[in-house]
Amino acid sequence: MITLNHYLILAALLFCIGIFGVIVRRNILIILMSIELMLSAVNLVFIAFSRYLGGLDGHVWVFMVLTVAAAEAAVGLGIIVAVFRNKETVYVDEVKELKG
């Protein structure tokens, strides 16, 4: 018997794996992919609660999150290309001019 709690625990696990990628990895491409993973985990919570409560409002909000994810990927990859053009690196620990 699969309950709402199963889905919430699964989504929490996936979200934490995304946080792990953002904190531990230095490659900016993998950091951006981890953010996409975290957004997907949040979508899973939306859908699970939508199914539990019997309304479709969660589906609409997932739609909005997907739009934000697409916009974020487009702008983020634009920033990565711009950084690579100027500094020849994709590692965030080599971009530290603001560190002082």
Binding site: I2, C16, I17, I23, D57, F63, A70, A74, G78
Partner: protein, 164 residues
């Protein structure tokens, strides 16, 4: 709510997510993330969110991941530019904190009483009811989405251009 399907696709999602964050080569990461998004779509379909499952494959596994792989190929990282993994203090600290967070979240979620799903109504999660809601109750957020997309288009053009 088939438990076998849930555990299959849930396990697949967790394993591919772990593989995604640990691969050294960004291309391998991106491909594991595509598999992960397919597992997510299967989970959405299990929750009778058919429209969102299709959108997940079309938009995430299709559009966004193609964009990622396109940019990785465009950057053309050579073998020697991909740094080997090294154990850093920040990495150890971050990994420890994440494990602590997982334990806290799972223990907290195990405390709440089990909430079983009821049988879904006919037509739940189809395109028509979601679309109807999108164009009536959520019309203003939906229209504001177009402004967001415009900002994203302008932003990516400004970022991508060498000289404005």
């Amino acid at each position: 709510m088939n438990p076998i399907l849930f555990y299959t696709f849930g396990g697949l999602a967790v394993v591919t997510a772990l593989l995604m964050v640990t691969r050294q080569n960004p291309i391998a990461s991106a491909l594991w993330l595509v598999v992960n998004f397919f597992a997510f779509a299967a989970l959405f379909a299990l929750l009778s969110a058919h429209f969102i499952a299709v959108i997940q494959i079309l938009l995430y596994a299709g559009a966004i991941m193609v964009l990622f792989i396109f940019v990785i190929m465009l950057l053309n990282l050579r073998e020697e530019e991909i740094k080997p993994r090294q154990l850093q203090f920040s990495g150890l600290l971050g990994g420890g904190l994440v494990i602590y967070l997982i334990v806290l979240l799972v223990l907290g979620l195990l405390k709440i009483p089990a909430a079983p799903f009821e049988a879904s109504t006919e037509g739940f999660g189809y395109v028509a009811p979601v679309g109807r809601l999108l164009f009536t109750k959520y019309l203003i957020p939906f229209e504001l989405t177009s402004v967001l997309l415009l900002v994203a288009i302008v932003g990516s053009v400004v970022m991508g251009k060498r000289k404005l």
